[in-house]
Symmetry: D3
Subunit: 250 residues, 6 copies
């Protein structure tokens, strides 16, 4: 099967790292097609970046659905805020998984209570709102920030890993976390080693999302087109975004 993985920020080196993590997690026979957004922020840190990443994300989803000789079987949105998840579901024929929700769902299958360790504290409200929307806030004992900026994760000299590890240790000791979800796509390469170090499962959302995409495709499940995720109504779009106008597909 073919999974389309879209990095909704425009940093190609980060796409490369995420794609590598996705390929490492994918089963044989799954092809990962990675795509970097071509418009919007270089990293997504808070509500403003989230908002401006949406057109790039949706363009990537649309392109993947249109593209080529082999159809896309599922989309993975590789930003822990699950940026544009619901809009993407209305647009795409194939199922769409966000790496945030993926981490939360798998965590709740292996732990009674999990914590999230993310980048900057401004992302905490975004993540908490998502958890509440999904219902899984009840399973999450803490969302903590390591105060590592997203692009510091690309820089080995930043000390990012140490700050993340310290926050994991804290949430296990103080919040009773039984598992920890890493709150940024750029942390995908750290999960395995941190699991070994801390004695609790440390979960990467990218691998989780690939696995859940495979699960949906394998069971033949696709987004319901009734209700919240009904296809966009055809209408006129204007200006810079005129090309995003939904067409009448009836």
């Amino acid at each position: 099967m073919r999974i389309h993985l879209v990095n909704p920020n425009t940093t190609v080196s980060m796409t490369d790292k995420i794609a590598a993590a996705a390929r490492a997690a994918a089963r044989p026979g799954t092809e990962i097609v990675a795509r970097t957004s071509t418009m919007g922020p270089a990293s997504i840190e808070g509500h403003y970046d989230d908002a401006l990443a949406l057109p790039g994300l949706l363009a990537a989803i649309a392109e993947a659905e249109r593209a080529g000789d082999q159809p896309t079987d599922a989309h993975v949105i590789a930003c822990f805020d699950d940026t544009g998840l619901e809009a993407a579901r209305t647009l795409a024929r194939a199922p769409v998984i966000g790496i945030g929700e993926a981490g939360f769902h798998l965590a709740s299958l292996i732990a009674h209570r999990f914590a999230v360790v993310t980048t900057l504290s401004r992302s905490i409200p975004v993540i908490e709102a998502n958890l509440m929307r999904y219902g899984l806030d009840r399973r999450c004992c803490a969302v903590r920030a390591s105060e590592v900026a997203v692009l510091e994760l690309e820089d080995p000299a930043s000390g990012a890993r140490g700050r993340i590890a310290a926050e994991i240790a804290r949430t296990v000791a103080k919040d009773g976390a039984e598992a920890v979800v890493l709150g940024c796509a750029g942390m995908a390469d750290l999960a395995r080693a941190l699991t070994a170090e801390h004695g609790v499962p440390v979960i990467d959302g990218v691998a989780s999302a690939v696995a859940l995409a495979e699960a949906l495709v394998g069971t033949g499940l696709a987004t319901s087109k009734r209700g919240a995720y009904a296809p966009p109504r055809p209408k006129v779009y204007t200006g810079l975004l005129a090309d995003f106008a939904p067409k009448d597909t009836a």
Copy 2:
């Protein structure tokens, strides 16, 4: 004071109606500066339109903050989905009010339980998610759709008013609604007459938002810049949206 009212869809006739409602509600001395988004959907119906309305909305907010000789004292987002509310709060110096939240807050000051009557059923999940995020789902006994499309509200021959009235009657009788919030900016002109007809307060979000904007400005309250609504971090934006890149204002 000067209130900037932005219609995040691109339909000018709708902006005109909304601006008229805002001016009718504003107190003497309040100037309403209405602006229509210049990019994105002609009407906002569901998650996809919401997502693509964001750049136009944020551009309008930014322009109003930059513009002119007299500063903007508050912004009102004139879409009942409160499209882009949180991103706008990180961007703007002045406080920002969404007409959805405005209607919910005022409703909860005059009724123990209120209902919402909106346009299409695809908007129900968006509104319900907002209510939950604000905490006011506990005060809302029903979100009902009249199945009137947004632009039908601009067409007197559409029968829209009758379908909305019927849904109000239903929610009062069946859900025990003590007040009803009209779930679309385009219904702003109907509130007064429907209140008289149905014997319960029927609330227009546009007037509510203007009044709450005046309330915040009058009491000197502005968005907290600590936490969720901290200013966007300066960074590179790419492509079509490069101009939206946050600048370093330190």
Copy 3:
């Protein structure tokens, strides 16, 4: 417009301070008519005082509705416990706002998460119950007591201000509060200076309630008389409280 502000405790010096704060917040053209309860406790600290403040409060509301040549347009209950808010709404023709709810609603328009700093810890359960009833507990990250008694706020030598400031600093640092609501009418004069000192909005419920009362009156909204706030049924009242008997107004 004419706003009736009732202090449900019997301490006149406190009414004076509250009325001054209300007048400072009111817009030109709003007249504040302040009234001190003539029966009940000198300060309201916990459930017992709350209960015994009710007749005095309701008498004041009734008198304001009856009184004079110019009608009352709205009532403000100037106790942070929102003492008697719901009973007052059944009694009054004009809308009624409590300063507690007013502070919570405005706080939730300018901050993702707010805290409350109140007087004695015995008031915490009252405030928490109100927050839950309004639905806004989900937006409140902490209710903290400064252990300042209400009447100490009238005594500059009490050190009250310092203890309140210390608790604000604590909730910003430890609870992640993005804004702070002052939990007593008697703190109304402190909000502006504390905002400047702490770098987050510090919100006074009195000013908030005046602003919300103006907002309701300005938009023509009044308490729904269907359901929870239907007028009291005419019936016999006995003894000391015989005069409170609702009359048949049909």
Copy 4:
């Protein structure tokens, strides 16, 4: 043991009926001392009556605590709204039980989901707010009104019983209620026969409260005087209610 049962409305015939139900439920050796409030409303229907019943209720509690040669072991507040429950707990040395909470607690021990059938629909919000405060809203599948006024329960010709029975039948059939709590002290005499008729437990709050009062006294448990129910602080009370001023008992 001696249980003080206070009817917070001033209708003596209703006290007599309630006292009879209490005595029928009490075990041998339990003395029921019934007292009718001497000030306030003849029946309690909605927020306004609730508020004005408080002084009479608290006076009765205080009198019972002071009175006589044999101490009061527990108080029962015989109004389904649990009028003044929390204020009474701060005042009384002995534990205090409301008949509403008593019915809810026992219902939740014998049924997964219970319903409430009360008098007028204006009482529904009061009862729902209580259920939420107690936490037991999650166990309650419906609060329904029979539209029987409280004093109609004193009049055999009113048809009250039939309307209550019809509402019980409805909640069992439509809401999946496994047990039904009768939502008014004045329905105490109906529980046994309605249980037999409807095939589900129909619960009277008066008997429930007597049993819970016996349970607390028997196990030596009394109201915690730390936190929410700490004794009222000594202070000046003014006017009609001067005599209610808490004394310094230190």
Copy 5:
């Protein structure tokens, strides 16, 4: 009346201690028939022990219902996890009370907020899930573990009492607990002395359950047989547990 108290673990010395506590709490005329499970774990610590204690518990309930010349009026399950409570309710004709729920319900009648102090931290999730199921999580401010193993409670030299007392002191100081429920049947003998030491009610679930059983029997209330607790459907059971097969009793 006759109350059947079943210890679902197989440790007879613990049954003896529990039975003594039950008898001390019971009123004159109540006979306590104590029974120790004859199959399963010697103590119940976590989900696995809970699961394997069920057949022994249900066998004991069935035997008590069948047994003898005098009928059983109520069952008490003497494990704080309320092991098998719901299955027992479907099986038994008489009402069934768990000591966990009993402690929670009585605590919520005498305190606004209570805490639980239990044995090992692995029991915290079990207790928290029960509180949520009952609805009383909203009233509970903390569930804390003393890290005392159940059978250490049988050993005076274990230092168990000191560790429990230390945790009670902590929850009163840090969590604002107004009352404390002891989270293990084996702590039944400590409640009275700990209440005196800590100045807040310390509640034993065994005494609480006996009192609630007496309350239900006294008011004639029994488990609803409609819905969740309908009698088991007759069917074939196989193997080791064949004798547990429900019979057709129609």
Copy 6:
């Protein structure tokens, strides 16, 4: 990989159907080892059957973990009540998935709101309690019973399919369900055809659980052994269940 699928009821024909569904859903390379419980109820309908199915379930889990030359990679509990899920997680080294939770999690990835259509109404409270425990009650708009007994699903002449289809139609029309989870392992063969008929995804928990088990194994995630799912403590077990005693594995 090898997935152990255990049917916790003792009906072999049902295991065969479930195993076929599991094999149809599994990817190439996944081996399904199906096992029927050897003790307990022939079908699981309500709390009593749930309780008595536990030893058989846990014995099967233990046997699979011990057995053979190739290790078990994951366990699936093939009862929609997720019978014994938490106890199994403490016992097993490999991850454990219940088919109920599996259906809920996948449903919430493809629909904003899903419904459950189960067998008998006595199972509704069990399912609702599970949804609340998992947090996913917020995503579920209705749990409905078709009043089909579990073993009727094995009988083509029972009309079971028609009654299930009717209930699906009802929940789509009345509750706004965007997807439907089939609430019994015995319905596994119906999902595909019902999806085609009703125009919304109809989800089988068995296929969902296999897919989620593959997802966990593929990403290397296993149950956290810290907290709720820590291994059972070694101790003496007595009587019929003596062999279930946890051993000291340190």
